[in-house]
C-alpha cells in the first residue's frame, strides 16, 4: 500500500464532502427527495475514504516506512508497536486525520441511527456536517498532508516525543476528539433548525443524546489528560490551567451548560434561543481548542508545531463557520419567547443559575487564556496570568452552582414549593455539618479540609434526598428512569470530585529533598528511605532507576522505582513511581544527580487524589446513562407533529417530576 493512495483517498473524501454539503442542502431547499437522499451515501463514502487514509498511515507506521516524512519524524525502529500505532496521532497531521475520522464516525452513526428524523431536517444536518468536514479536509490536503515523502528515505526515524509515550496519552487525544467532534452534531442540529426555520423545538430532544455522549467522552478525555500530567510531568499536579488544558475545558463548561439548557427546552419549551446559542458555542469552543493548540498563538507545554499559515487557515475557517452561524442566529433565531412561564423559585431558575455560572466561568477561562495575546495586541508584552487568576475566580463562580445543585432536582418545574426547599435545606445543612464534625473528630483541622468535606457532602446529600424522594413518591417501576439515574450519577460525581480536589490541595505533603543512598525522610505518617540508583533498559530507552522503600510505623508499605529515562532521540523523561490507593497516593519522582551519590528526589503524600478522576468518570457514566432513556427513542420523537405544536402540557401533581 503506497502512501500516495492515502493522499488520493483524502482528495476523494474532500470531493465527497463538498457534495455532502451541497447536494442535501439543495435538496432540502428545493424539496427534492432524491437530492436529500444522497447525504447518506455520500457520508458513508467519505467515511470509507478517510478510514482508508487512516489505515494507510497506520500501516506506514506498522511497517516503519520512513520514506513518509510524518512517520520518520514520529517513529523509530525501537519504538514498541503500540506506541507506533499511537504515533499516528502523535503530531499535527495525524491528529487532524484522527479528527476527521472521528467526525466521519459521528456522521455515519447519525446516518445509521437518525433514519427516523424528518427528511428535510436530516438532510440539512448532514449538509452542515459535510461543510464542517469539507473545511477540515481542505485544510489537511492543502497545508497538512500526512503522506508527504522524503527521498531518500532515512534508515531510521526520529522518535515519538517521549512525553507522549505513555498509556494515558495514547487514549487522551482520541477521547478528547470524540468529545470535541461530538459537539458538531448538536451544532449541526441547531444550524439545521435555523436554516429550516423550525418553529418547534423538537430538534432539541433529538440532539440531547448526542450532546450527552459527546460531553461524556470529553469528560473522560480530560480525565485521561489530567492523569497523564500527574504521572508523566513529574510535578505531582493534576491541573495547571495551561492553555491547552483550558482549550479542552472551555467546551466542557459550555457542554455542561448545554446539557441542562437542552433539558429545559426539551421539557418546557423555554430557553430556545439560549440553547441554540450554546449549541453553536459548544462547537465554536471545540474549534477554538483545535485552533489554539495548532496555531502557535499561545505557547504551552503541549502545543504542537508553530505554523502561522495553518493558523491563518483555521482562523478563516473559524470565522466562516462560527461567524456564519452567529449571523444566521441573529437573523433567524425564534422571535417569540416560547415555552411555559416559570416562577422565580423553580427548577428552571436554579438551572439557569447553573448555566450562567458555567458560561461565565468559560468566559473567564477564555479571557485568562487569551491574556498573553491581548497583551501582545495592545503592545504591553506577553503576560501570563496563571493559576493565581484562574483558581480563586473559578472557585468563586462555582460556589453558587454548588450551593444550588442539590435543590435543582428536588424542585418542581414552573414553580417550586418553598416548603420543600426549606425542608431539604434543613436536612442538607444537617448532613453537611454532621460530616464536618465527624471530619473534625477524625482529625481534619484546616479550613480547606472542612470545606472539602462539607461541600462534597452538601452535593451528595442532595442526590441522596432525591433518590429517597423518588422512592417514596413515584410508582414502582417508574422510580428511576435512565435519565434520572444519569443525572444522579453525574451529580454524585461532582461531589466526589469536590472532595478530591479540595482535600488533595489541603492535605498533600510535598517535599523536594536531596538524598544519599541509605538516608530517610519523613513525609506525613510515612518514612521514605532512598536505597540508591541502578541502571535499567527499555525497548527504546535507558533509565536510571531509583529505589525508595516506604514504611509506616516501621512496617514496610511498598518499594517504589521512579525512573529518569533517556530515549533513543536523546530526550530525557521522568517517570514517577506511584503507590496508588483509594485514600492516598504515595508519589516519588527522581530528579538530578547532585554528586557524591546524592540525588534530588520529590516525595509526595497525596490523599484523595484519585477522587478527582473518579468524579470525572462518574460524570461520564452519568451522561452515557441518560442516553438509554426511553424518552430518546426516536419513534417517539417523530410522532405526528401536532403533538409538539404546543409545548408539552405539564402533567399534574407528582407526575410533573417524572420529566426531570
Amino acid at each position: 500500500m503506497t502512501p500516495e493512495l492515502g493522499q488520493l483517498a483524502l482528495i476523494l473524501a474532500l470531493i465527497l464532502s463538498a457534495l455532502q454539503c451541497v447536494l442535501p442542502l439543495t435538496g432540502a431547499w428545493k424539496n427534492s427527495r432524491p437530492l436529500m437522499a444522497t447525504g447518506r451515501s455520500l457520508a458513508a463514502g467519505q467515511f470509507v475514504f478517510v478510514a482508508l487514509a487512516f489505515g494507510i498511515l497506520a500501516w506506514a507506521f506498522w511497517i516503519n516506512d520512513f520514506s513518509v516524512a510524518y512517520v520518520a519524524q514520529n517513529s523509530n525502529l525501537t519504538l514498541p508497536w503500540y506506541y507506533r500505532l499511537a504515533a499516528v496521532w502523535g503530531a499535527h497531521e495525524g491528529s487532524l486525520l484522527l479528527w476527521m475520522l472521528i467526525l466521519n464516525l459521528w456522521t455515519v452513526a447519525l446516518v445509521a441511527l437518525g433514519g427516523k428524523l424528518p427528511e428535510a431536517f436530516f438532510a440539512r444536518v448532514i449538509g452542515v456536517l459535510g461543510f464542517v468536514s469539507f473545511g477540515f479536509l481542505l485544510y489537511m490536503v492543502t497545508t497538512s498532508n500526512p503522506f508527504v515523502r522524503i527521498l531518500p528515505a532515512p534508515p531510521n526515524g526520529a522518535d515519538l516525543n517521549p512525553v507522549l509515550q505513555d498509556p494515558g496519552l495514547t487514549f487522551h487525544p482520541p477521547l478528547l476528539y470524540m468529545g470535541y467532534v461530538g459537539f458538531s452534531v448538536a451544532f449541526a442540529f441547531a444550524i439545521a433548525s435555523l436554516l429550516g426555520g423550525e418553529l418547534k423545538a423538537t430538534w432539541v430532544r433529538w440532539a440531547r443524546p448526542w450532546t450527552n455522549v459527546a460531553w461524556g467522552f470529553l469528560t473522560v478525555g480530560i480525565v485521561a489528560g489530567s492523569a497523564w500530567a500527574y504521572y508523566e510531568l513529574g510535578w505531582g499536579g493534576w491541573w495547571f490551567w495551561d492553555p491547552v488544558e483550558n482549550a479542552s475545558f472551555m467546551p466542557w463548561l459550555i457542554g455542561a451548560a448545554l446539557i441542562h439548557a437542552q433539558a429545559i427546552t426539551d421539557k418546557r419549551g423555554g430557553l430556545r434561543a439560549w440553547t441554540l446559542l450554546l449549541s453553536i458555542f459548544g462547537f465554536a469552543f471545540s474549534l477554538l481548542g483545535t485552533f489554539l493548540v495548532r496555531s502557535g498563538l499561545l505557547t504551552s507545554v503541549h502545543a504542537f508545531a508553530f505554523a502561522p499559515t495553518r493558523g491563518l487557515f483555521i482562523l478563516v475557517y473559524l470565522g466562516v463557520v462560527i461567524g456564519g452561524s452567529l449571523l444566521l442566529y441573529a437573523l433567524r433565531a425564534p422571535k417569540v419567547t416560547g415555552g411555559q412561564p416559570f416562577a422565580l423559585a423553580s427548577r428552571e431558575t436554579l438551572m439557569v443559575v447553573g448555566n450562567l455560572m458555567l458560561t461565565v466561568a468559560c468566559a473567564m477561562v477564555l479571557l485568562g487564556t487569551l491574556y498573553p495575546l491581548v497583551g501582545e495586541a495592545l503592545n504591553i508584552g506577553r503576560i501570563s496570568v496563571g493559576p493565581p487568576y484562574f483558581g480563586p475566580l473559578f472557585l468563586l463562580l462555582m460556589t453558587p452552582l454548588v450551593l444550588a445543585m442539590p435543590f435543582g432536582p428536588l424542585s418542581r418545574w414552573g414553580k417550586a414549593d418553598l416548603k420543600v426547599w426549606a425542608r431539604a435545606l434543613v436536612k442538607i445543612v444537617a448532613l453537611a455539618v454532621a460530616a464536618g464534625i465527624i471530619g473534625f473528630v477524625v482529625g481534619a483541622r484546616s479550613f480547606y479540609q472542612l470545606l472539602g468535606i462539607t461541600a462534597s457532602v452538601w452535593v451528595m446529600a442532595g442526590v441522596a434526598l432525591f433518590a429517597i424522594k423518588r422512592w417514596r413518591e413515584a410508582p414502582a417501576g417508574k422510580r428511576y428512569p435512565f435519565e434520572m439515574v444519569g443525572m444522579m450519577l453525574a451529580h454524585f460525581g461532582v461531589g466526589v470530585f469536590i472532595a478530591g480536589a479540595i482535600l488533595t490541595r489541603s492535605m498533600s505533603v510535598e517535599q523536594d529533598v536531596s538524598m544519599r543512598p541509605g538516608s530517610s525522610v519523613e513525609v506525613g505518617a510515612y518514612a521514605f528511605q532512598f536505597r540508591g540508583v541502578s541502571e535499567t533498559k527499555g525497548p527504546n530507552w535507558l533509565a536510571e532507576q531509583g529505589s525508595v522503600s516506604i514504611t509506616r510505623d516501621g512496617k514496610p508499605v511498598v518499594v517504589l522505582h521512579p525512573q529518569k529515562r533517556t530515549y533513543a532521540g536523546g530526550q530525557v523523561q521522568t517517570e514517577a513511581a506511584i503507590q496508588a490507593g483509594i485514600f492516598r497516593d504515595l508519589y516519588v519522582s527522581l530528579g538530578d544527580r547532585i554528586g557524591d551519590g546524592a540525588w534530588s528526589l520529590r516525595v509526595y503524600d497525596k490523599p484523595f487524589v484519585r477522587w478527582i478522576w473518579a468524579g470525572g468518570i462518574l460524570m461520564m457514566l452519568g451522561s452515557f446513562t441518560v442516553v438509554l432513556d426511553r424518552r430518546f427513542r426516536l419513534k417517539r420523537a417523530v410522532e405526528p407533529e401536532t403533538t409538539h405544536a404546543k409545548p408539552e402540557p405539564a402533567p399534574p401533581g407528582k407526575l410533573a417530576d417524572d420529566h426531570a
Binding site: A273, W274, A307, L373
Partner: protein
C-alpha cells in the same frame, strides 16, 4: 436570557463579541508572523560583531575571542539552563548541528557554569564549543534580549543575521540556511 436574545439588537451581540475575538486573533497571528521573521531588527545587522573574549564552559582556563574566530563563519546560539524555550529549541539544534556546514557555538547567558554543564549533560550537547557569559555584560554589547537567540557571524566578524526565539526547522530552511549557503559560496 430569552429576553435579551429576543430583542432585535440583542441577537447580534454574540456575533459582535465573536468579531472582537477574531480581531484579536488576527492581530496575534500577524504579530507572530512579523515577529518571527523580522521583529526587533538588530541595529547590529551587517555591522561588525562587538569584541568579546569569553572562557570556555568545559575548560574555563581557555577562552574564545572575536579575533580567534576570524576567518570562518559561525553561528552563535544564546542559551541558558533556566530557559524553557531553549529546551524547546534544543532537539532542533541536535538535529541540525552537523547540517549547518559551519560551527555552532553555544553562548551560555547569565547562567551558572555548573547548571549549564548539567543541562547539557542531561539533554545532550549540540555545540562545537560553548562560551560562558555569567555576568551577561558582553551580551549587552550584542544586544541580547533574552534566550534563545541566534547570530550568524561571517568570516570577517560581521553579523549577517539574527533570530530571536527558538530556531525551528522552518526558520532554518527559510531564513538561516540560505544565508549560510550564500556566505559559503561568496567566501570561497
Amino acid at each position: 436570557m430569552n429576553d435579551v436574545a429576543g430583542k432585535p439588537f440583542g441577537r447580534f451581540v454574540p456575533l459582535a463579541v465573536f468579531a472582537v475575538l477574531v480581531a484579536f486573533f488576527v492581530v496575534g497571528l500577524v504579530w507572530n508572523q512579523s515577529h518571527d521573521a523580522s521583529f526587533v531588527p538588530s541595529p547590529l545587522i551587517n555591522k561588525p560583531a562587538p569584541a568579546f573574549n569569553l572562557p570556555l564552559l568545559k575548560q574555563p582556563a581557555q577562552s574564545v575571542s572575536k579575533a580567534s574566530m576570524l576567518g570562518q563563519a559561525y553561528l552563535l546560539n544564546v542559551f541558558a539552563s533556566w530557559c524553557f524555550a531553549c529546551a524547546d529549541e534544543h532537539p532542533t539544534l541536535m538535529a541540525y548541528r552537523d547540517r549547518f556546514g559551519i560551527p555552532l557555538i553555544g553562548y551560555d547567558y547569565r547562567d551558572k557554569p555548573a547548571d549549564a554543564l548539567a543541562w547539557l549533560g542531561r539533554h545532550g550537547d549540540p555545540y562545537h564549543e560553548v562560551i560562558t557569559d555569567e555576568s551577561g555584560i558582553t551580551a549587552l554589547d550584542f544586544g541580547v534580549y533574552g534566550a534563545p537567540e541566534t547570530y550568524l557571524i561571517d568570516a570577517k566578524g560581521i553579523i549577517r543575521y539574527k533570530h530571536i526565539g527558538p530556531l525551528t526547522p522552518a526558520v532554518i530552511a527559510k531564513e538561516l540556511q540560505p544565508r549560510i549557503d550564500a556566505l559559503e559560496r561568496g567566501g570561497k
